[in-house]
């Protein structure tokens, strides 16, 4: 059981890194609390697997330290860390039975035979593998194999954290959901830190209490799924999380008003510090940009309206820029001209991609 601390951690695959571009993983400071369910979310190549491999000890970081509680494990070999990892493609030992697979990590650590046997039964029961314990592991389905991979981590009583590297990639869609809820159950049953790497926002948001979003080798935001949705700290988070993602529009800000072209958008907060040199953008999620009949609001041209089941999403154009907006129930719009009403509580201003906090109007924080 341990708290995992990443202290000024950075990694470059090439020797002698100089520029920030040389780093696959830019400097990161983070604490994974004991027993937490974390997701590491980001597109392919953003450095999340590198980070995972550093924690498990498969990769030694170029700079910085990894601490388990207060113990520096940066130079400790993988097998001496209390870490288990489940990989993208299921790893089972083909020649062994499921039982032997599960016992393998304990056998290598010279755990007495009777204790091993008991522990294997326990974990098999937890993972619902009891039926197949004596079958060859190579003949099972991908989701079973993934459970065996996980089981090999769980049998070790010393394991403090389990790392998942996109574990559902090769699982059939209808089993993904099942396996994910098994993971949730296990997380609740055992007090184990879980770090789950994925590029799938649904997986991340449903699995984790806390999501760490990575982009281009750096952590851009850490927060609960709600925080990521309501207050994206970076335009990347806004765009990457949500379906469709956040609308990002170049704008000009004067005090508590943003101007998109010549159209004014009232804001809830005042932005006095924005200088001319930065790239200023306005971010609004489609859920908070509502389409209404032509009138007050931003004039838009409708391209098409998609029915995505639980809601209707309008694809519109504002000053030549594509935008997504929600269409409230019971509203029908004639022709292609309409207006857009933005909920000022959910309009965010970004400078060079980063959220600008601004100052609350009326002297109290919003």
């Amino acid at each position: 059981m341990a708290r995992i601390t990443l202290d000024h951690l950075a990694h470059a695959y090439r020797p002698n890194p100089r520029t920030p571009e040389d780093y696959a993983l830019k400097e990161i400071n983070h604490v994974w609390k004991q027993g937490g369910a974390y997701a590491l979310l980001g597109p392919s190549g953003c450095g999340k697997t590198t980070l995972l491999n550093i924690i498990s000890g498969l990769v030694r970081p170029t700079r910085g330290r990894v601490l388990f509680d207060d113990l520096d494990v940066t130079d400790l070999a993988t097998e001496s860390r209390n870490i288990a990892q489940v990989f993208q493609f299921p790893v089972v030992y083909d020649t062994m039975t499921v039982r032997e697979n599960l016992a393998f990590p304990l056998k290598n650590r010279h755990v007495p035979r009777d204790r091993t046997a008991r522990r294997v039964e326990e974990i098999a029961h937890l993972l619902d593998l009891t039926r197949v314990l004596d079958r060859k592991a190579s003949n099972l389905t991908a989701d079973m194999k993934q459970k065996i991979s996980l089981g090999r981590g769980l049998v070790r009583p010393d394991v403090a954290a389990i790392l998942f590297d996109e574990p559902l990639t090769v699982i059939d869609p209808h089993l993904k959901w099942q396996l994910r809820s098994t993971l949730k159950e296990i997380h609740r049953a055992l007090d184990i830190t879980m770090i789950y790497v994925t590029h799938d926002q649904t997986e991340a948001l449903t699995f984790a209490d806390k999501v760490v979003v990575m982009h281009d080798g750096a952590v851009v935001q850490t927060g609960t799924p709600d925080e990521l949705f309501e207050r994206p700290a970076h335009t990347f988070v806004g765009h990457f999380i949500g379906s469709p993602g956040m609308n990002i529009l170049p704008c000009r800000v004067e005090g508590a008003t943003a101007f998109i072209g010549s159209d004014a958008v009232p804001l809830q907060r005042a932005y006095r510090t924005l200088s001319g040199g930065e790239r200023i953008e306005l971010g609004i999620r489609p859920e908070f940009a509502r389409l209404q009949p032509k009138g007050a609001g931003l004039p838009v041209r409708i391209r098409r309206i998609d029915d995505i089941g639980r809601a209707r999403i309008a694809r519109v154009e504002l000053g030549g820029r594509p935008l997504a907006a929600s269409v409230p129930d019971g509203i029908s719009i004639e022709g292609s001209e309409a207006s857009l009403a933005l909920d000022p509580r959910h309009v965010h201003i970004y400078a060079n991609g980063h959220l600008v906090p601004g100052e609350a109007l009326g002297g109290h924080a919003a």
């Binding site: 990989f87 493609f89 790893v91 020649t95 990590p105 290598n108 003949n139 090999r152």
Partner: protein, 298 residues
């Protein structure tokens, strides 16, 4: 899925049948023809039934004794070759680099012996192992070891075996290397996390993943070593005495040296059947392993 049955399609296969008939079947029939006849010259042949086969397979006859001597010699040779080249090939494959510029260098160096024509290999070693001018023979003799591959049967065997190992271990190693390369990194990483020792990694990951290529390697090396002719013929000519007279060499002596066409034909047919039988065993083992897997999977 339904298949369209059109018997006229067989016409397209006809040329292959014709070519195989002329290149393999007819020559083989000639051999069968010789094996059941005897001749006293003048191109006159008499029906001889299965007498040649009876003589060949009767260890108490002169021909039979000679045949079984060669057969055991060849089997022993193949066994030694497999026992040395397979483990050595695996070891070499394990030691080969996985990435970087040295991979290409290694592969080229390994492939070199495979590219040399058989008789050139024989010639190279004939000179290399000579006691007077050969680097190997001279050095070994200077070390105080009495070594003479043309006079001592054991020396001749050792020389031929080392030559074959030098020539063909690369093949086993390259096949194994290909098998090793196909193992995803995650397996090694998982093994490290599971605390597996180097030996456990080999036993539980590398060896099972190499099994199929290994069977192919064993099959190829068995067939090649069991039919070996050119290299020992060039190196020792089957000697000293009959010490390195393997079946193929004996067969050529019988057919082209003594011109005993009937005996030679019978011998080559039996030789052929032995190879077929052993290959069939290998093939059955290979397919059985796969079939067993599928059965359990289903």
């Amino acid at each position: 899925m339904t298949k369209t049955v059109n018997n006229r399609a067989w016409l397209f296969v006809l040329p292959v049948f014709a070519i195989v008939a002329f290149s393999a079947f007819l020559p083989l029939m000639t051999v069968v023809n010789y094996s059941v006849q005897d001749t006293f010259g003048n191109n006159q042949f008499f029906w001889n039934g299965i007498a040649w086969f009876q003589e060949l397979l009767d260890p108490s006859s002169q021909l039979g004794e000679r045949f079984f001597d060669s057969l055991w010699r060849t089997l022993l040779f193949s066994a030694i070759i497999l026992l040395i080249e397979v483990p050595l090939g695996i070891a070499v494959a394990l030691a080969m680099p996985r990435e970087g510029w040295s991979v290409a260098l290694c592969l080229v160096l390994m492939a070199l012996p495979l590219l040399i024509p058989w008789n050139v290999v024989g010639t190279i070693w004939q000179v290399f192992a000579r006691g007077d001018i050969g680097l190997l023979g001279w050095t070994v003799n200077r070390l105080g070891i009495d070594y003479n591959y043309t006079g001592d049967p054991l020396d001749a065997w050792v020389t031929i075996i080392i030559m074959d190992v030098w020539h063909w271990t690369s093949l086993v190693a390259l096949l194994c290397y290909a098998g090793l390369k196909s193992i995803p990194d995650a397996y090694y990483q998982a093994a490290r996390i599971d605390g597996a020792s180097r030996w456990a990694v080999f036993r539980t990951i590398q060896l099972p993943k190499m099994r199929r290529v290994l069977l192919i390697a064993v099959l190829l090396r068995f067939m090649d070593s069991f039919m070996i002719y050119t290299e020992p013929f060039v190196l020792t000519g089957g000697g000293p005495g009959n010490a390195t007279t393997f079946l193929s060499i004996d067969l050529v002596k019988l057919a082209l040296g003594q011109f005993d066409l009937g005996k030679a034909a019978a011998m080559s047919l039996v030789y052929n059947l032995i190879i077929l039988a052993i290959c069939w065993v290998f093939y059955t083992v290979m397919t059985n392993v796969d079939a067993e897997r599928e059965r359990v999977e289903a």
